[in-house]
């Protein structure tokens, strides 16, 4: 299947459902799940355990046809969640549709809120080739107003009891991502290691390996970080004017890699958020980097090239 071809009715819908009451939650979601099952859709509900009980109770015989996933386990790292959803959605039988209730767990800190807001925005691009309808419940009793607000920007439709309407305040995902604070910034002070990379990447990989090990990451994570950093440095060397500058900061349980090139810059704020299509041969270095690292921020350098800041925390 080539990137441009789509089944006639491939359609991705992404709705937000703000609720303030258990009754409301069940009254809206249980019928939607029941209808999905009756249509022959694959029905999935990734919701907190407490809500699994609420929904299962209301679904009677249909509960067995819904795949329940505990949201506490599912929403751990945004990029991991995108990958896992993509794995489920790409394995749907041909010409079937998925109906997903996905209740994002936003965490306790502003940093996490921004991470998951980026996730919500990115879904609009990342799953655009999947035949799926995703409804995201937002608990107004528990979530801060800024997240309820952001939901209107990151979802094309809003669901309320008896009503589904377009979100007037929906905004292109790239704009949402660009409007949020940086995921990672270049640390102050001198780096622990710095090198110019021009041809072979062996020295760069060794340097990342040493820095990651020094920061206390285990060998499997070190391998992941070396691969992720390699892909970013590779891109910089191959597309970024022929050379790249790599700087590394290594702290207890934290590694920061900054890769700077002299190319034309990366225009798309969503690079690396979209899973590669099976069979595609290139263009997903940043996807790998975002999988390996906890934060990946792309900035424009004064000379017009790219600065990629990668941060990993154990």
């Amino acid at each position: 299947m080539t990137a441009g071809s789509q089944l006639p009715d491939v359609d991705f819908e992404h709705d937000a459902f703000v609720y303030g009451h258990d009754d409301e939650y069940v009254a809206v979601l249980a019928p939607l799940l029941t209808e999905a099952v009756d249509r022959g859709d694959t029905a999935i509900a990734a919701v907190p355990r407490r809500n699994i009980d609420l929904l299962a109770g209301a679904l009677d015989g249909h509960a067995d046809d819904v795949r329940f996933i505990a949201a506490e386990d599912w929403y751990r790292r945004p990029m991991e969640t995108i990958a896992r959803y993509d794995d489920v959605l790409r394995r749907l039988p041909q010409a079937t549709r998925a109906f997903v209730v996905g209740e994002v767990q936003f965490g306790q800190t502003e940093h996490e809120w921004h991470d998951w807001t980026r996730y919500e925005a990115a879904l609009n691009r990342a799953f655009s080739h999947h035949n799926a309808h995703v409804v995201c419940p937002y608990d107004s009793r528990a979530l801060p107003p800024q997240l309820i607000d952001a939901a209107e920007a990151t979802h094309r439709h809003l669901v309320q009891p008896g009503q589904r309407s377009p979100s007037e305040r929906y905004v292109d995902p790239a704009v949402v991502v660009e409007g949020l604070p940086a995921q990672a910034t270049v640390p102050p002070g001198p780096p622990d290691a710095e090198l110019i990379v021009a041809g072979h990447l062996t020295a760069a990989r060794r340097a990342v390996e040493q820095a990651a090990a020094a920061a206390g990451f285990d060998s499997t994570r070190v391998d992941e970080l070396v691969l992720g950093a390699h892909e970013v440095v590779s891109n910089a060397v191959r597309h970024g004017g022929g050379g790249a500058r790599l700087r590394l900061w290594s702290r207890a349980a934290e590694l920061v890699c900054v890769v700077e090139d002299d190319g034309d810059g990366m225009a798309d704020a969503l690079l690396g958020y979209v899973p590669p299509l099976p069979g595609s041969e290139s263009g997903f270095g940043l996807w790998l980097a975002r999988q390996a690292f906890d934060g990946c921020q792309i900035e424009r350098s004064p000379s017009g090239g790219s600065i990629v800041v990668l941060v990993a925390r154990s």
Binding site: T202, T220, E231, S234, P276, P278, E281
Partner: protein, 253 residues
């Protein structure tokens, strides 16, 4: 020279092969270190012009050559030697891309014979004649090489203990060489590649392996990647290389 002297010390039968018109000219190459007359007379040293040994009827046939060496090794053992040791300058056999491609396949296959029998060889390639890129293509299927550091391909692919072994690092810098090396692998076989000494492979390298996996399945063979580090399976999954992910066996650290 050292290679042959070492072989003599091990009681191997020695064969020296190069592009010279006759045995006398070949003898001249070795005269400084060897009592060539004596060794030839007693049968412990054979001198063969390269085209006589490799292209006896004007063309190179890799299967025939592999069989020939197997036969020569067996004969050496029957005659009381520990094994066969060959020093061959094969520069003149690999002048064209087609000849080189066939030769890489041959080298990989004859390496399998060496894995199983007391047959060792030193292959010489003159980069001044062949160019560096061509020489590196031939380098990769040799477990050990003596070359200046800037001509090091970064990886090698060869037979060891009945399986193929991929050693070193594969990334975009040597990706094309890697593709050439893999093209020499017999797709109709049940291919096993031991990855325990593969220190790094990037997505591009994995793509070449996935192509090999698909080609093998289509040709009635199969591919298994054994003793892999977990990152390799992780990378296949992240890159959605489903065929290859299924072929990866993660080994104990």
């Amino acid at each position: 020279m050292e290679f042959l002297l070492d072989g003599a010390a091990r009681s191997d039968r020695l064969v020296y092969v190069a592009d010279r018109p006759d045995a006398a000219a070949l003898a001249g190459d070795l005269a400084l270190c060897f009592d060539v007359e004596r060794h030839v007379a007693e049968g412990s040293l054979q001198l063969v012009p390269v085209h006589d040994l490799y292209e006896p009827d004007g063309r190179f046939d890799d299967d025939r050559q592999v069989a020939r060496y197997r036969e020569l090794t067996a004969r050496a053992i029957r005659d009381g030697y520990a094994g066969l040791r060959v020093a061959a300058d094969a520069t003149s056999l690999v002048g064209t891309p087609e000849a080189r491609s066939t030769f890489v396949g041959y080298e990989l296959a004859v390496n399998a014979v060496m894995d199983a029998a007391p047959f060792s060889a030193l292959c010489g390639y003159d980069t001044a004649v062949l160019g560096e890129a061509a020489a590196m293509e031939l380098c990769v299927v040799h477990p050990q090489r003596h070359a200046p550091p800037d001509l090091d391909p970064g990886f090698s692919l060869f037979h060891r203990s009945g399986a193929l072994k991929l050693v070193g690092e594969v990334d975009f810098a040597n990706s094309e060489l890697f593709e050439v090396a893999l093209s020499a692998v017999d797709r109709t076989a049940h291919i096993v590649i031991d990855l325990s000494d593969l220190d790094f492979v990037d997505v591009r390298g994995l793509h070449h392996l996935e192509s090999l996996a698909s080609a093998a399945l289509a040709a009635g063979g199969s591919l298994r990647l054994t003793r892999a580090r977990p990152i390799i399976r992780r990378c296949c999954e992240a890159a959605r290389m489903d065929t290859l992910a299924a072929a990866v066996e993660v080994g104990a650290p």
